[in-house]
Symmetry: C2
Subunit: 290 residues, 2 copies
């Protein structure tokens, strides 16, 4: 399996079956044809047009929109359509750092194709700081009970970005929950870019931006999962990450992209690779639109 195949897998979608989700004059997301009949039950909330779904324009403020939509989403949860309800509010923010048009339960996000943000942290141990010699990377194994990608390999720490939480505060929170990393260490995580993709799934579409952080942890640090989401951690030489990525789909689909970005930045994928431009460019597909 080539690196570019992981990128293609995360960007598999047929946009001809989606129409824009319009809110307050902006494209807030993308809605699949299969979800239209469900939305059509609520003509008080949604105007269904051939080329768009528009949220009722009379809902004039973010609060009004969020409050009007929420009972309907809970209905869909009770009917079993929206699975894995999290009680986490995500901002509906077509452009990063704009004021949200509203907030929405995390589990509903892919149905509306709303762009979601997250933080992914490459936890690594450097024998010779700055060098790849002896560089090791912490890899988590996701719990088999996770709704998404059970049993797949993961980063040391990763998490979604809820409404009203700062990025670094989220890094600190997730570091504590997922790997028992003390705050003083978590705050040394260094931003290093982002990865994005647009991936169709059975619910709709994942339209994700993952902010990437590198966190150098001491050689004697051992992560301990505290929220049950990770069942085991391994400390791997960077080369093993490379080999695992090129041999199959053991890594969770989007974790593979962040790991490939790390390999690019650390120089393990050579620019002589015929796919090099496609790989490096492909790690941030579609971000221009948002």
């Amino acid at each position: 399996m080539a690196f570019i195949d992981h990128i293609r897998a995360c960007n598999a979608h047929d946009m001809s079956r989606f129409r824009p989700f319009r809110t307050a004059g902006q494209t807030a997301g993308w809605i699949h044809d299969d979800f239209i009949a469900t939305l059509a039950r609520r003509s008080d909330l949604f105007a269904i047009q051939p080329h768009a779904v528009t949220l009722n324009r009379e809902l004039a403020t973010p609060e009004q929109r969020s409050k009007a939509l929420d009972p309907f989403l809970r209905e869909l949860k009770d009917e079993g359509m929206i699975k894995g309800w999290r009680d986490e509010r995500y901002p509906v923010t077509p452009r990063w750092r704009d004021e949200p048009l509203m907030t929405m339960e995390r589990a509903a996000i892919p149905f509306f194709g709303v762009r979601a943000y997250g933080v992914h942290i490459n936890g690594h141990v450097e024998t010779r700081p700055g060098s790849n010699d002896g560089l090791q990377v912490w890899v988590g194994k996701r719990s088999r009970s996770k709704p998404t990608a059970p049993g797949k390999l993961d980063h040391l720490v990763a998490g979604g970005q809820s409404f009203g939480v700062g990025l670094m505060d989220n890094v600190v929170k997730e570091c504590a929950e997922e790997a028992a990393i003390p705050e003083s260490l978590a705050r040394t995580a260094r931003p290093a870019g982002f990865v994005s993709y647009v991936m169709e799934n059975e619910e709709g579409i994942r339209n994700d931006v993952l902010f990437v952080y590198d966190l150098a942890v001491p050689a004697d640090f051992v992560p301990v999962n505290t929220d049950g989401e990770i069942e085991d951690f391994y400390l791997w030489p960077l080369e093993r990450v490379f080999e695992t990525l090129t041999s199959g789909e053991d890594f969770k689909f989007n974790v593979a992209l962040v790991a490939i970005d790390f390999l690019v930045r650390r120089g393990l994928i050579p620019p002589e690779d015929p796919d090099y431009l496609a790989i490096v460019h492909g790690l941030r597909l579609d971000a221009a639109a948002l």
Copy 2:
């Protein structure tokens, strides 16, 4: 001046005034309307159509194409249209690592809007390897006699990628010429991605991919320019690079992009910046097309 302004400056173009340069059934470049009358003098070489310029299809091999075009390009040099003749052959390669469709004198490349490749090297000194504490960056001041961007700030080493030269061999060659860096040190340069842009200029269009390398040099290393292209070198704290980029255009236009990429990868541009997605995505504009 914001980081995004440097990216916009490198991507200023009006493609409505360009038409594809077709060679052997492929789009090999982009030709400005103002260059058409010159090409029309040679109907044996070029077929001028409203929406394309096509190189004579009877030129069946890369050698035939290169040989047929060269005397015409030398005519344009003698007429003073093509300036700064280098006697360097660039590959005409619409896709990285494909066999070239032909080779072309470097000075003619922007007239035909052919994608050009180069290597740019961030030379830095790390007080604490892997950390930004005390990190310093070598900055060159370009000779005032350079045809492009005279007197502007530059990288420790940068150079164009000629036909038939390997990337790392080019790194080694340019390191020796531009900064008297010994081969053993030059070979420790680590690839870290690429930067690309499409910038209209008075000759046509620069359609460039710059492969980015990081080179950690010892604290006692002092670069010496040997080819007259750099008149001075400075060792700056990384923060001074940041401040110089945000205060104006002292850096050469494309060096600014590679420096911004370095700041992103080292975490000096925070993801909380409202422009963050546009900056990180914008550093690699248009590469998908090639």
